[in-house]
């Protein structure tokens, strides 16, 4: 048996990875052209910046979901985690600006904790992640309902909301650059660097073949748990941005887990793990948001969004299944 030391992986990876970012870039380009034809104003710097700012949370969630999926697992709990975080933040901040930063730190810690629990239950208790995170989803939904009597209480301070709502004004050429976009850029770069590090390679190796990875000395449970923690952390940041964007809401995170998974799949990442790039996942999220914007410009009912997401998941998985069997 060939030993898979992290150092030997770079030679191997490019060959086993048909899930590159080229296809998603092509789709994105086509959508941009279509949007440009229908609504040329949309491509002006001002509205493009605000679109990117609004899309930042789902892009971050896609990145978080990518870590989990590429390691061979799923995280269905992120949507309800976002909702829980927003509701908790509102109640704890209670419109008091002084509590902004402590609560931000608390939310990040809460995200890490939920990820840790998801990870440990999945890896140590050997509960399939599908079930683990579905359970977590239900636990969080129920807990939030119980804790808040079914109606959000308190309020978010302006200081908290500015991350998701405000922007650097009067930037040359670009106009208005949302804080959310900067947060996204910084974290996206961090995610790419992380995937290029030893950890990133190990993560992909674990998703590709956990047994081989285990035999070659990787502690699979630790790597996967860390992936869940990253997903929880991404959800925390997304919650801060989303709560900032729209204020306290019981549906802040509704359906986001499916949005994130759709984006990851659309970005060429194989469900089941081992294949795909984090950049692809993030571009997938951007493409999905752009598709929804396009649907809006054509006056397509918002109710069709979940149908479109479903179709994309099926199509992308089918395409990737044919590809991998012909590999």
């Amino acid at each position: 048996m060939q030993t898979v030391q992290p150092r030997s992986l770079p030679l191997r990876l490019p060959r086993v990875r048909p899930g590159g970012v080229l296809p998603i870039l092509a789709i994105l380009a086509v959508l941009l052209v279509l949007v440009g034809i229908r609504q040329p104003d949309f491509l002006a710097p001002q509205s493009l910046m605000s679109f990117l700012g609004r899309s930042a949370p789902i892009i971050l969630l896609a990145a978080g979901q990518y870590f989990v999926i590429v390691s061979g697992e799923f995280d269905l709990s992120v949507g309800s985690l976002v909702t829980a975080q927003v509701v908790v933040a509102a109640r704890l901040i209670d419109s008091d600006p002084a509590r902004t930063w402590p609560v931000v730190l608390l939310l990040l810690a809460f995200g890490v904790l939920v990820g840790l629990v998801n990870g440990l239950i999945t890896t140590r208790l050997r509960v399939p992640s599908f079930i683990t995170t579905l359970g977590m989803f239900l636990i969080l939904v129920g807990a939030v309902y119980l804790w808040s009597d079914g109606a959000p209480k308190g309020g978010l301070s302006e200081e908290f909301r500015r991350f998701g709502r405000r922007a650097f004004e009067d930037v040359p050429l670009l106009g208005r650059v949302p804080y959310a976009l900067l947060v996204l850029v910084v974290l996206a770069v961090a995610a790419v660097l992380l995937m290029r590090s030893d950890f990133g390679r190990t993560l992909v190796a674990v998703g590709d073949n956990p047994r081989t990875a285990e035999l070659s000395g990787v502690r699979v449970w630790r790597t996967r748990t860390f992936a869940f923690i990253l997903s929880g952390l991404a959800a925390a940041v997304a919650a801060i941005l989303l709560g900032g964007y729209s204020g306290v809401s019981f549906q802040a995170g509704a359906g986001l887990e499916f949005g994130a998974i759709t984006a990851v799949v659309l970005g060429g990442v194989a469900l089941g793990g081992g294949r795909g790039a984090v950049v692809g996942a993030m571009l997938g999220a951007l493409t999905l948001e752009l598709l929804f914007a396009l649907m809006n410009f054509y006056g397509v009912s918002g109710a069709l969004r979940s149908t479109v997401q479903g179709a994309i998941i099926l199509l992308a998985v089918a395409v990737s299944a044919t590809r991998s069997s012909s590999r």
Binding site: G150, A151, P152, S246, Q251, F258, S301, A303, S306
Partner: protein, 390 residues
């Protein structure tokens, strides 16, 4: 394995993403002219006419206590319910799942406390927004020895048989807020109602906006009588004013969803010239959508929630706030006690429904209360004010 996972995901997506069941005649279709679609099946012309007449009616009762006032009273005899106190009063509540109901219920609890010499026990059961639970709740309460039963029904048609069963059990039943399709309760308490609410907002928006402008109508959810009537009255007003209603969307009362919808419409049409909504919970989210898009906030209506009143004043909006006053939660307790005294009460008990306008805005803004509080709570004289409502 991956394919199975995807299928499972899909079936989950179907139940977890809470999308509206398609917008009714969403964008302006040529067939319906102004884009308001068909009239709601809840619309009753006679009720509509009656409510609009009530908007100008003078109430009877103490002027400083609108929750005891009645518009056009028609008294009914309650001598057969006369009973010695103190009483056990039971309350089957549809839900506590929004700030309006939270504020209302706290007001009701405070009213119970204010009357504690006459009420020995107050039993509250929360149906959590589920018809089936409320039917079971009412049935349970019938066996608990209540002297009077107050019901705030979750939905109109489904709860009617349960309320009828309660009436047959012989105890006085008081229904308030949403109605039921039966005349058996001793009294049905509510403010003027949805037609009045919807009409006031729609008339204001169509008068204040630029002629021929585009209106976006935001509704919480379909199928609830108090909300259907609001929209149907607005539809009549918009049709009459020949306003171009470019969209009628359901928000679920959720600010995140609302902001996204309004933002979508701003992107799609460049600008929106008027916003009407059937409830104020999402008013601030709608205002923010315009602010964040760098567009002027058009004439709009909200409700008497403090966050909206505050942003209205701070940003000098062109706005109006018809109300569905939370002080109506005091009235059922008062009514139940009067009935148990054998005093006459009015049925229906129509409460006045004040409107917050630019002229009286200042008197309703209370910086000390939380943003989701309702100004029209009529609670300042009750025990525990203001702490109880914070």
């Amino acid at each position: 394995m991956a394919a199975i996972a995807a299928v499972t995901l899909l079936s989950l997506a179907a139940c977890a993403t809470d999308e509206p069941a398609a917008s009714p005649s969403g964008s302006a279709s040529a067939a319906t002219g102004s884009g308001t679609g068909d009239q709601s099946k809840f619309f009753v012309q006679a009720d509509y006419d009656a409510e609009l007449a009530l908007l100008d009616a003078a109430p009877t009762g103490p002027a400083d206590k609108p929750w005891e006032q009645v518009l056009n009273p028609t008294m009914v005899d309650t001598a057969k319910f006369k009973k010695n106190g103190p009483h056990k009063i039971c309350f089957s509540n549809a839900a506590l799942n929004n700030p309006w109901r939270q504020v209302g219920f706290k007001t009701m609890q405070a009213e119970v406390e204010a009357q504690k010499s006459r009420i020995k026990e107050f039993v509250h059961v929360d149906a959590e927004g589920k018809d089936q639970k409320q039917i079971a709740d009412i049935n349970d309460l019938l066996g608990k020895g209540c002297d009077a039963l107050i019901v705030s029904p979750n939905t109109t048609a489904t709860l009617t048989p349960a309320v009828e069963a309660a009436c047959k059990a012989g105890l006085p039943v008081v229904v308030f807020d949403r109605g039921v399709n039966t005349k058996c309760p001793v009294t049905f308490i509510n403010p003027i109602g949805g037609y009045g609410f919807g009409h006031v907002g729609a008339e204001f928006v169509s008068q204040k906006m630029k002629p021929g402008g585009k209106v976006l109508a935001l509704r919480i959810l379909p199928g609830v009588d108090v909300l259907e009537t609001r929209w149907s009255a607005a539809k009549v007003a918009f049709d009459k004013a020949k306003v171009d209603v470019v969209g009628v969307e359901f928000t679920d009362g959720d600010p995140a969803k609302t902001k996204k919808i309004v933002d979508d419409y701003i992107q799609r049409y460049g600008t929106i010239d008027g916003v009407w909504m059937d409830a104020g919970a999402v008013a601030v989210a709608a205002v923010e959508a315009f602010q964040d898009a760098g567009k002027p906030v058009p004439p709009m209506n909200g409700e008497d929630q403090l966050d909206f009143l505050k942003i209205w004043k701070d940003k000098k909006l062109t706005a109006i706030a018809p109300t569905y006053p939370t002080y109506q939660w005091r009235t059922p307790i008062i009514a139940a006690l009067r009935i148990l005294d054998g005093q006459q009460v009015s049925n229906p008990w129509k409460l006045p429904q004040p409107t917050v306008t630019q002229d009286n805005l200042d008197q309703y803004i209370d910086a000390g209360m939380p943003p989701l509080h309702y100004a029209m709570c009529g609670c300042t004289d009750l025990p525990g004010y203001p702490q109880r409502w914070k």
